[in-house]
Point group: D5
Chain length 153, copies 10
């Protein structure tokens, strides 16, 4: 049978297909997150290829966006989460990296002062995204919330 | 006079001297922030060389830590805020960059959905650092709060 | 339906298609800018994939150049604005980067002297392009005009 | 004599010494430019090591800032004008490079449309720096003005 | 005959096809290792393209997963074992490289102290993979076991 | 007092001083590990600058090797654990990275199969070093033992 | 019409098609240069994609080599002249870069001594290629001839 | 004796010392070339550290510029001729590399057409430097003259 | 005719096609070298795309392996011999580069001591490959034999 | 005692000191190799810092060249054998790397054909250096002789 020589759809490509279908269907990321009852940032990242979905959630997204089966399959695959150096130059993403350049050493110093020698986990970790109204211009508010892991032998 | 041939103390070196003096004096970053009545993350970043201090604040820190005059002078200088690729490999700092690799495209997508085409400013921007107790292990909570800037011609 | 497995046309490719169609149609960038009543540099950048167009403007360009629907769709998408290191070696573009190598530190020093600690925004920012006649050879005159943003916590 | 084994003072170091002396003397870049009757951006770049000064100008700056003789000598030397990749990550300088990433291809296209195949010279070239008041926040205005050079065999 | 112009299937692609077929068939890596009676880590690496299989083993895998002939052929080819810098940024793989950054110099020092000047072979070398239950959370246990090779002229 | 202008001794330099003193004193790493009753690999890594020592342990090492006070101080400092790309080319260390190139994707696949989506922690992590006699040449046996961390929102 | 969705043929590809057609037709570069009455090095560079041809010249080449219309169109397009780092490792091309490594600083020093502060233009610039017979082995003689441009504000 | 622990003066440093002494003595490169009766470009390159001088020539230069003995010694040492990527960004030197980017593939094609498969030697190789008067601005004329070496097994 | 728009087959691809055909035909590299009466290493390198073959030799290989005409054509083309950084990480190839890291400076020193200032040519150069039996394990013996070229102006 | 704060002399520096002393003493590498009765290439590499010497050999070299004790100590230390990318651009060393670019894939293919899947060891490995007279110009002959290691689990 023909499947013996076909690799699964790449998750990056699946992510772009999802995004295209989402735009054509006039749906927001928030609506998709609601459809599978998952947090907003997690859902967006997962649909862009950074987390695997359960079969049930992938199927729900597939129905909502009228996706082909191999896209639905791809959404469930275990990702490679590669650091794309080129994406990091997009101005909207770059500002985060720049802020880490300015505040990274300070955050490291404060983690060590408050918690001891260790790290904030990026695995046991969640991210919230919010808008805060402000008369001087509304603000993007992003909260990183990760478990402290101490160097433990 | 001898000053005609001497450059000011490099701010990175000044930052390491401040850190050394702070440890020897048994002072926390929080105590230094309090001494100049500035936010914690800002103060830590500034003393590590990422922001200029006012003459008054620099002098207060100099007294608190018994610093030489050229360190106090250096703290007031305008910094180069260079992206140190090597520092980014420290595990405590790396986790932040890794998280941006995983969640960066999602944050970009959500900023555009919620605010339109633009960025979260890294200049009109502040960072909070917190500890949240959790029975499964306490958590590091970091809040990034920046003004939205739309692409405006 | 077949759309369930198709990603939108890449904006770089759309830009090259626009450029090809423009040349074949014998139209200048200025004529396209006029057709949508937008500034010249902005229009050229947007059509090359660096800014999203409104549906109305994309449609006007599509008619002017007889473009397919997926090109028109692509012009409206939110771009990734990636720093292409290789393009920066084209001699016409390289001269700008070289000039920044020579004058960048001076511009930084003057911004800080005149405005204080901060940056010239590249988001709230516009660019003008002009030709100035000169008996020793005409000159390219480019004006960068961006809002000053001070480091504000 | 001892000079047989001593290299001249490095121009980058000389630039940092000049900047330190300038700050300690409370002088602006504009005052130094006036002292040698040269344009502001040119003077700032030259004193930071990017252009050689005449003996007369170097000597005038030396007197104004009480510099040692080897600094005055260094200011007159022919520079290497190296592209410092790390400086390019300073946020104030980075915004210029980012803007070139966004508008560089458009500027290239417009130069070719208006002038033909060639470049804007970065040698026969000048830069102006201005502040424009604006109720929404003052603006940095930078004008690049270079001779067009056509590819000519 | 048409084969005169066709290159063999790339081993990386063959590896992705194997992985896709494995998932669709609901088989574990352990089951495939058992099918050819080879160690678990070796089999997984080989099927992902890092070691050549014998014709017999490739054929057994081909039957188990209903693979096309050119996939079966590709599994037997001699690999290029290239260091993929981008894969190294996947968080699951990155942790190993990070651990080498922290413990590499120590392991070098201990190899030299215990064995003399030389290396642990990565060719005469095997890897075991295990799960160890632990009330604080189960642990991944990986054993590297390589022949010591002394610098011998 | 003079300390107001002196940074602490760099931990890499302290590590080289410890190593030199150890060789001159004819002591093994194992003897130093025993002196502070810590595991062998941990102790070696820590003395080379990768982990902070307690004041008591640093002092014990200082006495054992007749170290100056600033070396003893440096051993207690919080490290930057930077990935030194150049050290990774040393043949003894390179073999580990090469092995990860060959077996990394397999280890990732097996971690996901056995544990689900997540990583082996490099923080809650230990390393053992052993020699196993073998008639074909003794073998280096290194065990990596880290807690599994699942992606948990 | 179908052209609404097709980009022009890439100039690098067009160059490889020209080269293939040239070899199949048994024509030398010199014969092609003669056919359009242009210098040898210029013609070769232009046909390989580094300079735009006039419509007339492109058409003449198209007839001489029986090229398709989109190749002829591509030859007339404005090029990106990108620095291909990989091509620079070809031994025949590498020797030129190596020679610049050895003699570049000397050429810079001599340009400044003879002409003052400035550059040899690479735009107002031509290259000749010659063979000189020599009993010790014939020699390649390449002449670079560019206008001096002084740094002029 | 003290020499048992001193390395020879680095040739790059020696080159900078020679250049400094040359400027202070008001001598041109041409005068130094004449002093040792060697070609101009060769002498300049050699004095900047790219070729070893004979003892006699080094001594003559040492007398002409009143150099210390260790500079004279350094001039005679065998050089490492390293490709300095940073120097290659100096505008005066960069133009040569840019020209190779544009004309390198053409020169390769012409060498192969005229001489067969091989290279122009960069070892059996000389460089001439000239000024040619031109009413449109004088020109820098540089001639590269190297023996053709064919790939010969 | 359709050839007006087709580039010749890439030599790397041709090399992979040759290798595939060779394996399928059960032929060794040595048999192919014998078929065209050329040295073993030269033939292998040439068939992998690193040297051009004569029409006669290409045709003989084409018959021996039943290759299509465009493969036979490709084997005769002049190659680009690019340094593939990624191939250099294959363990079998890496060991050679590592050995150069260890012995390169020594080989340079010995070439200069024995021959004077110059290089071993990599163009007038041949490589032999041999197996030497050894009771401790057979050995790979590779001989590099290149003409000495002295720096000659 | 003062040694408590001093690291051992770096082996690269020690290598440069040895080389300087060797030149001043008018000794060849061959004479030094003879003095310690070791092979020529091995001795040269070891004295340049790539292998540790025994105390006896280091002492013999120290006497032959009148070296200070810390140089003699440094010669005995275990080296880091780092790949110096910059040294690889020296023309004499570069030719070897270039030859590997051209012949590396062929050598890999031949090793696999003759020996099976594995590598030529760079540890159980030796290098000979020879001069072969040739009427067309003497030749450098370098023999690499390493044990074959097969991938063995």
């Amino acid at each position: 049978m023909a499947d013996g020589n076909r690799e699964a759809l790449n998750k990056d490509l699946a992510g772009r297909i999802v995004d295209t279908a989402r735009i054509r269907a006039g749906k927001t990321w928030a609506e998709l997150a609601e459809a599978i009852d998952k947090p907003l940032v997690w859902t967006t990242a997962a649909l862009l290829g950074k987390h695997p979905l359960t079969a049930e959630d992938a199927s729900a997204i597939g129905k909502a966006l009228d996706l082909d089966d191999d896209v639905v399959e791809s959404l469930q695959l275990q990702p490679y989460r590669l650091a794309d150096q080129e994406l990091a130059t997009d101005p909207t993403i770059y500002r985060f990296h720049e802020a880490l350049g300015v505040y990274g050493p300070a955050l490291k110093a404060l983690i060590h002062e408050e918690f001891g020698d260790g790290i904030m986990s990026a695995i046991n970790f969640k991210v919230d995204f919010d808008r805060r109204e402000d008369p001087d211009g509304d603000r993007v508010v992003i909260t990183l919330d990760g478990k402290f892991l101490d160097y433990r032998w």
